[in-house]
């Protein structure tokens, strides 16, 4: 007799579809996704933008990061209009340096997404680790970590990012600042966003800590690090996924804000925010396309990721099912 119950139950419950893909398509989450047209559109837009960004080096018509390929006389060409000096035509026009807007946006989204994703990953790693430690240990450690998080949450993330950026400017030698800029940006945005992850995870961990499976592991003498990693972490990841997705949208916007303020990536390697900063100088002079296209791309990117996050929150929330 090896497990009779399983053998008996098999005919009553319909068998789960075989394979992971089929399992996923059959899940509640996929069901709720299929039923929400807004989410489907958001997914398509987000995927299209992400694909465009990832594949930029292969599909972009020009390489805007290669300054030697630029011709200044191509500058300020309106969309789909022939340049009066060079005779070149660009689908979305060119900026003040003669850079093709379409290619710039593709490469710019790539930087924006890369910075956003890396910064969010950094914030999650830091926030989740600290949240787990704080929630599991309680006491002094919890107090210290959470008070730091509270202090940080009490003023805007962008200020913290600016502060970190300023410090980095002072610490990093002048000749490495430009090559390090992107990493400084990632760390600055990551450090300004970790607190909300820590807070969420800490709460969830405090709940999980009381549960029997944790006690069981403790009695068996499992090292606390392994308990956190193997047992608690998987059970607190749901909410992290939700705020992580929304956090990605926020990080993309934060990167754009920093670049707009001129403290982000160098102007020769523009992200979406840098492109917007360049473009807004020409608002009054009538060259609208330099601002409009990158701005629309940023809005689409942030909005679609945000909508996905919203949907994920609803789908994963048992109370709303």
């Amino acid at each position: 007799m090896k497990n009779p119950t399983q053998g008996n139950a098999a005919p009553i419950v319909p068998p789960r579809p075989q394979g992971r893909l089929k399992a996923a398509l059959d899940s509640d989450i996929f069901y709720s996704w299929r039923r929400s047209p807004v989410t489907i559109i958001a997914t398509v837009v987000a995927l299209a933008l992400i694909l465009m960004a990832v594949l930029a080096p292969w599909i972009a018509p020009y390489d805007p990061f290669d300054p030697s390929s630029l011709n200044l006389m191509d500058g300020f060409t309106p969309p789909m209009t022939e340049n009066q000096f060079t005779g070149s035509t660009y689908l979305l026009g060119t900026d003040n340096q003669g850079r093709d807007m379409l290619s710039s946006i593709m490469y710019g989204s790539r930087i924006s997404l890369f910075v956003g994703a890396m910064a969010t990953a950094f914030a999650i790693t830091l926030g989740v680790s600290l949240g787990l430690v704080a929630g599991y240990n309680g006491g002094m450690i919890d107090g210290v970590i959470m008070r730091i998080a509270d202090i940080q949450l009490s003023f805007p993330g962008i200020l913290i990012a600016l502060l970190i950026f300023g410090i980095a400017r002072g610490v990093i030698p002048a000749n490495q600042q430009e090559s390090m800029a992107i990493w400084v940006l990632i760390i600055a945005i990551g450090l300004s966003n970790w607190a909300q992850f820590a807070r969420t995870v800490r709460g969830a961990t405090m709940v999980e800590r009381q549960k029997d499976y944790v006690s069981a592991a403790q009695i068996m003498g499992v090292h606390p690090f392994l308990i956190l990693l193997r047992h608690v972490l998987p059970n607190v990841l749901g909410p992290v996924l939700v705020i992580g997705t929304i956090g990605l949208a926020l990080a993309i916007i934060e990167e754009a804000t920093l670049s707009f303020l001129g403290v982000g990536v160098p102007p020769t390697q523009p992200s979406l925010g840098t492109l917007i900063r360049i473009g807004q100088q020409f608002l009054f002079s009538g060259e609208w396309w330099i601002l409009l296209f990158p701005a629309v791309t940023l809005i689409l990117l942030a909005l679609s990721v945000n909508l996905l996050g919203d949907w994920l929150r609803d789908a994963l929330n048992p109370k709303l099912r």
């Binding site: 290669d66 030697s68 200044l72 340096q97 002048a174 160098p266």
Partner: protein, 527 residues
């Protein structure tokens, strides 16, 4: 108690002013950047001087044509029996804002301060050995040899009150590059037409009319609100929405649109300022380059290749929208020593440039970082970006580091840059001013802005001789010789001379000042 009385007096003055409000006119004046400091001898920089000229005064001044005019000095001449001494007769009855009387000891103190070690104005006074007061209203300046053009150097050397400076411990000049601070950085006591009322760095400064000023004509503007607005579009939007009355730094792309807008007008004119790129010289490898065994810029062939790769006409046409005059010499046409031959520049020749690069051993190019300000000169960052692209074509892979001028300027004065953009205005209207600061070896009073540490002892000797040469023909010949060498050696990479545009409410008029240092006392209102 005295202070209270002055404050009371000021308060009374201001109330009478409001009572007779018929002539009270406030001008809100927007610029791209703020004065770097209010210590008058700490930074030899246009925006800083422009601001200071409203509060402090100089011995002599220059009118729009460039001729010297009396200001705190009423007469000046070489001493009859000794051509190595300049005698300045001072204006009587002038008082500082705190009520102290202006006398010869203040001039002696200020000139000594301006030529002290930490002063950024030193190069203008290199040939001075002693400044002495003869009586209360006569000052003698002793120079190493006859120095016929010395008064031309005084148009930006401001006079401070000796007692006030001693009382507030500001006898030493603020060492700006080292990040030092003193009382005079935020507080002022000048003799000028306006009194500083409040100052928030980079935000807002307020000045009101000095009722006790010596000038006979009372300026039409009674209050100045100075607003640094770094962002071009915001600055123009502020003018269009009526938040400011005068914008001094108008982005070239907005000139057309502003000309067609009702209620706003534009004044344009050439500025006495050249925009150029500077190189790091010396054997030592560049800090920001992948070439680690040599300094590519030290090779004249590389500098020639770079000049041949830069398309000045395209920059003038696209980046500057025609608001620039391309040039082949780092000397504006206003300045004595400028010639058409010097001004000529080579046509773009990429083939030859590539050949030169190969000859120099850099057929695969090299990398370097270019430091550029982004709020100082017209489209400074865009010019640098365009040059990055142009140099990319001959294999020089340039990383662009863009900073506000307050952070950029110390990089140049502290020699912490390999390749940089700078603009140079020439307030003396004489070439020696360019040579002293940009070409002469960096030592003592010379070479303050020679951030690339160019050094040529032969040129140094010639430059030093200019200060005390009395034979004007011989002096002109030496100036021509120095320019010849500077141009053929490609010590600097000049791009163009800026054309200035001021935008303002259409009922006021402020003519463009060739040094871009307009005094708002010259602003007039339409009837």
């Amino acid at each position: 108690m005295k202070k209270v009385m002055t404050h009371l007096g000021l308060a009374l003055l201001s109330t009478t002013m409001i009572a007779g409000a018929t002539s009270a006119e406030t001008i809100r004046w927007a610029r791209g950047s703020d004065a770097l400091t209010l210590d008058p001898h700490s930074q030899n920089q246009g925006v800083t001087h422009n601001f200071a000229h409203h509060i402090y005064e100089t011995l002599v001044d220059r009118d729009v044509e460039g001729t010297l005019q009396p200001r705190l000095a009423t007469e000046w001449s070489l001493k009859e029996d000794d051509p190595t001494v300049w005698v300045f007769k001072l204006r009587e009855g002038v008082t500082f804002h705190d009520g102290a009387e202006f006398t010869a000891e203040d001039v002696v103190f200020s000139l000594d301060r301006a030529r002290s070690e930490a002063s950024n104005m030193r190069q203008l006074h290199v040939e001075v050995t002693e400044v002495r007061a003869v009586d209360d209203y006569t000052v003698e300046v002793q120079t190493t040899g006859p120095s016929p053009l010395y008064p031309d150097n005084l148009t930006n050397t401001f006079i401070m009150d000796k007692d006030w400076s001693e009382a507030n411990d500001v006898v030493e000049v603020q060492d700006y590059a080292a990040g030092a601070d003193n009382y005079a950085v935020r507080n002022t006591n000048g003799t000028g037409p306006y009194i500083l009322q409040s100052r928030e760095v980079d935000v807002r400064s307020v000045m009101t009319l000095n009722e006790n000023h010596w000038a006979e004509d009372t300026p039409a503007v009674t209050e100045i609100i100075y607003l640094p607005i770094a962002d071009n579009a915001t600055r123009i939007a502020a003018l269009l929405s009526g938040e400011v009355d005068l914008v001094q730094d108008v982005p070239v792309q907005d000139i057309d649109r502003l000309q067609g807008t009702g209620g706003v007008k534009i004044e344009t004119g050439p500025e006495n300022r050249v925009i150029y790129f500077g190189y790091r010289f010396g054997e030592e490898p560049l800090a920001s380059s992948n070439v680690t065994d040599a300094n590519p810029f030290n090779d004249p062939r590389v500098r020639e290749a770079m000049e041949l790769a830069v398309d000045r006409d395209a920059i003038a046409q696209v980046v500057m929208r025609g608001q620039a005059i391309p040039t082949g010499v780092a000397n504006p046409p206003f300045v004595a020593g400028w010639t058409e031959e010097l001004d000529a520049y080579p046509a773009v020749d990429l083939d030859r440039a590539q050949k030169l690069m190969a000859e120099a051993g850099y057929e695969d190019g090299f990398t370097v970082t270019l430091d550029t300000p982004n709020n100082r000169y017209v489209n400074d960052e865009a010019i640098s970006q365009a040059v990055v692209a142009m140099l990319g074509r001959i294999g020089i892979n340039v990383t662009l580091a863009s900073r506000p001028v307050a952070q950029h300027s110390p990089l140049v004065t502290n020699n912490q840059t390999d390749f940089y953009l700078l603009g140079w205005g020439v307030p003396t209207f004489d070439s020696a001013y360019v040579f002293n600061d940009l070409v002469h070896t960096k030592e003592g009073s010379y070479g303050a802005y020679n951030g690339g540490l160019f050094s040529d002892p032969e040129l140094d000797a010639k430059i030093q001789s200019l200060g005390t040469e009395i034979d004007m023909e011989a002096r002109d010949a030496t100036v021509a010789e120095i320019w010849e060498t500077v141009k053929s050696e490609r010590v600097l990479l000049p791009i163009h001379n800026q054309v200035l545009a001021y935008a303002m409410r259409d009922d006021i008029t402020l003519p463009v000042h060739p040094e871009n240092q307009p005094l708002l006392t010259g602003l007039t209102f339409a009837e």
